[in-house]
Symmetry: C2
Subunit: 204 residues, 2 copies
């Protein structure tokens, strides 16, 4: 793995970038403070000038990762002609992100180190991602294609389904259970069932 360009940006940004690359290419085990420093081309202790902690660097990577996830969602759903198509695009975008960068995805959603930190910026970006999904859900409700339940709860439900499916696929267990052949199929099943419920009376 070659060094990152040394003078282009601030060292702090370079560290975040290098950490993202390490976790993408070698999994969470490869994300070592010393390896990050070496990749940037500074000594093993220099990162402490920019991050108090390994956890702080992880938090910065996570903040950046959530922003990228939001950008991906925004890009993929932008051209959808209606709310239903946007939801389908959201499903595709979410799973593609998780599959393309599995270790980063796990860092964002399921890393216990990060979870314990509750760094303000990370939580803000996580919430922003959630809100973006919420907007799509609300629009779909307005178009009558999703049931008229409490939008926040419905968003929570759909978001949790999306994450649960992605996480299980990342665990490798979706292969063996035939019910999981394609998580996209199951997400689609969820959407179709929700739409069906939208036409029934007792959907709250």
């Amino acid at each position: 793995m070659e060094e990152l360009s040394p003078t282009s940006a601030g060292t702090r940004a370079l560290l975040i970038q290098a950490a993202g690359r390490l976790i993408d290419e070698g999994g969470p085990g490869a994300l070592t403070l010393r390896a990050v420093a070496a990749l940037v081309g500074i000594s093993h202790n220099a990162p402490y000038r920019h991050f108090a902690d390994k956890r702080a660097l992880l938090a910065a990577v996570a903040e950046d990762g959530f922003k990228q996830l939001q950008a991906t969602i925004a890009r993929e759903t932008a051209s959808a002609p209606n709310a239903w198509a946007a939801l389908l695009a959201l499903v595709r975008a979410h799973f593609t992100f998780a599959r393309t960068r599995p270790a980063l995805y796990r860092l964002l959603f399921s890393d216990p180190e990060l979870t314990a930190a509750t760094d303000g910026a990370v939580e803000r970006e996580a919430m922003a991602t959630f809100s973006r999904v919420g907007a799509l859900i609300r629009k779909a409700q307005a178009e009558g294609v999703l049931p008229s339940a409490d939008p926040l709860r419905l968003t929570g439900l759909f978001y949790a389904t999306l994450h649960g499916l992605a996480d299980i696929e990342l665990s490798g267990r979706a292969r063996e259970a035939k019910g999981f052949q394609t998580v996209e199929e199951i997400a689609l099943l969820q959407l179709n069932l929700l739409r069906a419920a939208a036409t029934a009376p007792s959907g709250r």
Copy 2:
């Protein structure tokens, strides 16, 4: 933390038990091979006589953990008068398990070390847990309280929702997003919407 009884069971079982205790009481960071050995009262290298690897010990803990999760589900759903009540009990059991032993839950579902291992026994128990949920889903379909979609896919959907909700709650983000006030509420919303879809025609 006091030592485990030295003579009661085989050392291997003691190691698994000690590891489970460490991860429950101190999180995944506390689960150290040397700490496990010390807790059992043997030297730091003795565990290698029973497990090839730290990952192998983790796998044994996970296998045991899945069995306990299955037992919990079986116990809680046994007394349910009908399939609907059983599903409600399943929801309660799953969340209670995740909340009571968060680090173990993360090990079972979202640990990258374990995920990469694909130890046969762990996957078998994970599948058995999934199957147990599948049986409840099928029964609920037979009682007309869930839509008649492909049972495997429907199980995958419900299981993923359950896991997604539990994982997000463990991440601590369910607090901030008001939509997540209680994951039980959202699981209930899922069940109610599915039931509503069961009476609509297009639920497949």
